[in-house]
């Protein structure tokens, strides 16, 4: 900084230090920054965690159709996709609805059914990590210890057991191979009932082999996983040509997901053109290629919107901070007209005066943000301890873990968010200080330094 401008820095510090009223502006900025940092970190953590779980659940890219009829030639496309240099793994999935009943319990429930190749899905998604008993060997997810010949099923954790107050599920060390009767409507390639006029539905008994905890309440509370081939038979997707609902794809590390999806789209377009006109290809026209975000958009959008609304509300409340800064500067400047008059009489320009006060405002914003961020970090570091203490003494939990699939309260700081919040706080201070600074700059030494004014 040039020596002739040093006075701006000195004066800015002096006003901040000596004018106690500026502490109030600092406190207001710190308060707002503290609250925003805490709330946004928690909210960001929840949304980020939710997105990550959705990504783990889906893989990077999905090729398929929402129709329960599925599409044919999926094996051919999977083979082509596997050979692409940017693709790590590929796996087909069958999606349908099933009615399941635990034998002997008298209960039956309608669920979403996914037919999967456990090993393949574990390579593409985080499915293997969600298992309880076969976490280390997900390829054997459907194997039952007591009898390897029995067909196994994996079930969403919320369908199988209750969460305790810490959000944990109870699992017995040696689970019983509980029998579950699974009923589906087999559909023809045209979507009609495959067994119309006869028994209409297909039913088979499966036995409990594992449960899956993806951390997504809707998934864990509504999905049962069956071996791919068994599900294909139950849903009537073996005739006239084999069909699947989705092909999930994982890209090699370093591949940009959007670029990867675009390449798969082109690959699918070529595949479709080559197969058009062959037998059983009518369903191929309904197939779309989506990134995991597009595929799970319906689930994710709600949380993102809530986060945006919360930010908007904080923005509105933050306006008060701008008002405070305005008033504080107005007061300081009205008390410092003589300083301004002297500065201008010894050569400071209007711009210099504006820069002096805006510099002061920026300093105030930075100091307030620093206090707010420090308080926020301290609070966030201990947020789970505080919640634990509140729960122990008062039975208070921020979220009832028996209702919500939330583990620890997120507290990982996002440096970008911190930078944005600090930037906004400094900007708010600058906006609040603009009018008083301009007013100060327009003061005329001849007016403010009159003897009658001194």
């Amino acid at each position: 900084m040039p020596r002739e401008s040093m006075y701006k820095l000195i004066l800015a510090f002096r006003y901040l230090y000596r004018r106690r009223i500026s502490y109030l502006a600092l406190a207001a900025v710190a308060l707002c920054v503290f609250i925003v940092v805490v709330v946004m970190t928690v909210m960001d953590g929840l949304v980020g965690d939710f997105k990550e779980k959705n990504h783990n659940y889906t893989g990077d890219c999905v090729v398929g159709t929402e129709s329960l009829v599925g599409f044919s030639y999926y094996e051919d496309f999977a083979k082509i996709a596997e050979k692409a240099n940017y693709v790590e793994a590929v796996t087909p999935v069958i999606k349908s609805y099933a009615l399941v009943g635990v034998e002997g319990s008298g209960h039956s429930v309608g669920v979403e059914m996914l037919g999967i190749d456990a090993a393949g899905l574990s390579r593409v998604t985080g499915f293997g990590r969600t298992l309880h008993y076969h976490k280390n060997d997900p390829a054997k997810a459907f194997n039952i210890k007591s009898d390897a010949n029995l067909p196994g099923f994996v079930i969403g954790a919320d369908l199988w057991s209750m969460r305790d107050e810490k959000g944990e599920y109870y699992h017995t060390p040696n689970p019983e191979a509980t029998a579950l009767s699974v009923t589906c409507f087999p559909l023809t390639a045209k979507g009609a009932l495959a067994k119309a006029g006869t028994d209409v539905v297909n039913t088979k008994t499966f036995y409990f082999s594992d449960c899956s905890k993806s951390g997504l309440a809707r998934v864990d509370g509504s999905i049962i996983y069956l071996p791919f081939d068994e599900a294909q038979v139950l849903c009537g997707m073996t005739e006239p040509a084999k069909r699947a609902s989705w092909i999930h794809i994982k890209f090699k590390q370093g591949t940009n997901i959007e670029e990867g999806c675009q390449k798969v789209r082109e690959m699918w377009g070529k595949f479709y053109d080559e197969h058009k006109g062959k037998d059983n290809t009518e369903l191929l026209s309904q197939v779309s290629v989506r990134s995991w975000k597009e595929h799970r958009r319906e689930s994710i959008a709600g949380m993102e919107k809530e986060q945006a609304m919360l930010m908007m509300m904080f923005g509105l409340v933050g306006l008060t901070t701008v008002f405070i800064v305005y008033v504080v500067f107005y007061m300081i400047i009205s008390h410092k007209t003589k300083d301004i008059g002297i500065l201008k009489s010894i050569g400071a320009s209007c711009g210099d005066v504006v820069v002096l006060f805006l510099g002061f405002a920026a300093g105030l914003g930075v100091a307030g943000s620093a206090v707010g961020v420090a308080g926020g970090i301290l609070f966030l570091r201990n947020i789970n301890r505080i919640e634990g203490w509140l729960f122990e003494w008062f039975g208070f939990q921020l979220w009832d873990r028996t209702i919500y699939a939330i583990g620890e309260i997120p507290h990982r700081l996002d440096l970008t968010m911190l930078a944005v919040v600090t930037g906004c706080a400094v900007l708010a201070c600058l906006v609040g200080a603009v009018l008083p600074s301009v007013g100060a700059a327009r003061a005329r030494p001849a007016d403010v330094l009159q003897v009658s004014q001194l």
Partner: protein
């Protein structure tokens, strides 16, 4: 009078005071909107249970026969207006080519069910009374037929109406001690899961505005459902009794009477043991939701606390502005004191002015909060049109419309707190004004 004169004068002459009014108004409006939306959601949630289930639900935990007589006995209780039996099961509904949905089937007596719940009001074409209870007709939730429009979140009512009269197939099942029938389970002995399919004609579509009911439920006549899934039972069975109470009836008293009637019925007619009777749950539909409601209330409290803390900055603002006013009005204050005003009355001028500013701010804020809350669906619609952002979806927030009732109980607290906060913000400047010494301020030099 002098105080009011001074307040109005400061208000007119010191425009900066308007900023504090704006800050108070902003905070008040925000808190009112947040509290009203949460409370509206809670009320709608509780009301949805009443609309769907009636006022009181008697759930024995197992199915029972002879429900017609139980209904009759319950209706003899003074506080009971109507009682109806229901039976529920899970199923898969085949709606057409490639369209299968997992659904919950409720066996109902349509006419009586309409008396106990809001079922009749929810029918697209109306007229549940016209349909005989034994007729092989069913009612399907509008969301079961098709998902709402992604942009507008509205259902295609015309499409639903076109489907009325069409035939659908539903598959369901039950467990039974009997063997044979269409059971597909190869296991021997014990209870067996029996698969059943039912064909029915859609008599009407049901649009309650509550996502769960609209997207999950299919209603079939209870006798038909019972006969299908429990073919071995001599009489049709029910799983629970849903009861509507008379207006103004004491719910607790009514529950005690209902329990009494049930006890006699279960022991005399069903021959149930005491422990079986004791395990029956009789509670209001609001009590059934109480755990979830408590959780939402807690979240509302946390959010209000956060916004309340942030709103403290409005108190700081008032402090700054009043401090500035006092600093620039020292001479006025000194003149008033030299004319005989004591320190207390000087302090009261500023504390009162703080409360006055708070009152004006809360008036504006309450008006703004009221207008926004009452028109929240329109506001959401404008946001959708202007930014293409659909903030409210029934699939996420359960209801088709955003509840738009103002939560007056919270409004009073928010208004009082805001006025008190504004007065507190003025206390220190008021004390500073009260401590003014005329002899110092009014010196000639």
């Amino acid at each position: 009078m002098l105080k009011i004169f001074l307040w109005l004068r400061y208000l007119r002459k010191r425009r900066v005071v308007l900023l504090s009014i704006a800050a108070v108004a902003l905070s008040t409006a925000l808190l009112i909107v947040v509290a009203s939306l949460f409370n509206g959601f809670i009320n709608a949630y509780e009301q949805s249970a009443v609309d769907g289930m009636g006022d009181v639900v008697l759930s024995p935990g197992r199915n029972f026969a002879g429900y017609a007589e139980l209904e009759k006995r319950l209706e003899e209780i003074k506080s009971v207006e109507a009682a109806t039996a229901t039976l529920s099961a899970q199923g898969l509904l085949h709606l057409g080519r490639g369209n299968v949905r997992a659904v919950e089937i409720w066996g109902i007596e349509p006419a009586k069910f309409g008396k106990v719940t809001a079922f009749e009001r929810s029918l697209l074409k109306g007229g549940a009374k016209k349909v005989p209870d034994t007729f092989s007709a069913g009612y399907v939730g509008i969301g079961v037929l098709a998902e709402p429009n992604e942009q507008t979140d509205e259902y295609d009512v015309n499409n639903a109406e076109r489907m009325i009269g069409q035939q659908f197939v539903i598959t369901t099942g039950s467990t039974s001690l009997t063997t044979g029938g269409s059971t597909a389970v190869e296991k021997d002995g014990g209870k067996k899961f029996r698969r059943k399919t039912i064909q029915f004609t859609m008599a009407d579509a049901v649009f309650t505005g509550i996502y769960y009911f609209d997207s999950r439920l299919v209603y079939l006549p209870i006798e038909q459902l019972s006969r299908t899934i429990f073919p071995d039972s001599q009489e049709p069975v029910a799983g629970r009794i849903q009861i509507k109470l008379r207006k103004g009836a004491d719910a607790e008293l009514a529950i005690a009477e209902i329990r009494g009637v049930w006890k006699i019925f279960a022991s005399e007619k069903l021959g149930w043991e005491d422990y079986q009777i004791q395990s029956t749950i009789t509670e209001t539909s609001r009590q059934m939701q109480s755990r979830f409601v408590a959780e939402i209330r807690k979240q509302m409290g946390v959010l209000l606390l956060i916004f309340g803390v942030v709103s403290l900055s409005a108190v700081l603002l008032i402090f700054c502005i009043f401090y500035m006013i006092v600093e620039t009005r020292r001479k006025d204050i000194a003149i008033m004191k030299s004319c005989g005003a004591d320190s207390g009355s000087i302090a009261m001028i500023f504390v009162g002015f703080g409360a006055f500013v708070g009152t004006l701010g809360t008036l504006l804020g309450t008006a703004a909060g009221y207008i926004v809350t009452k028109n929240i669906n329109e506001v959401e619609g404008w946001i959708r049109v202007a930014f293409g952002l659909k903030l409210w979806k029934a699939s996420v927030y359960m209801f088709s419309k955003i509840p738009s009732e103002v939560y007056w109980q919270a409004v009073w607290w928010i208004v009082l707190s805001a006025i008190l906060g504004a007065a507190i913000g003025a206390v220190i400047p008021a004390l500073s004004a009260a401590l003014t010494r005329p002899v110092k301020v009014l010196r000639y030099e």
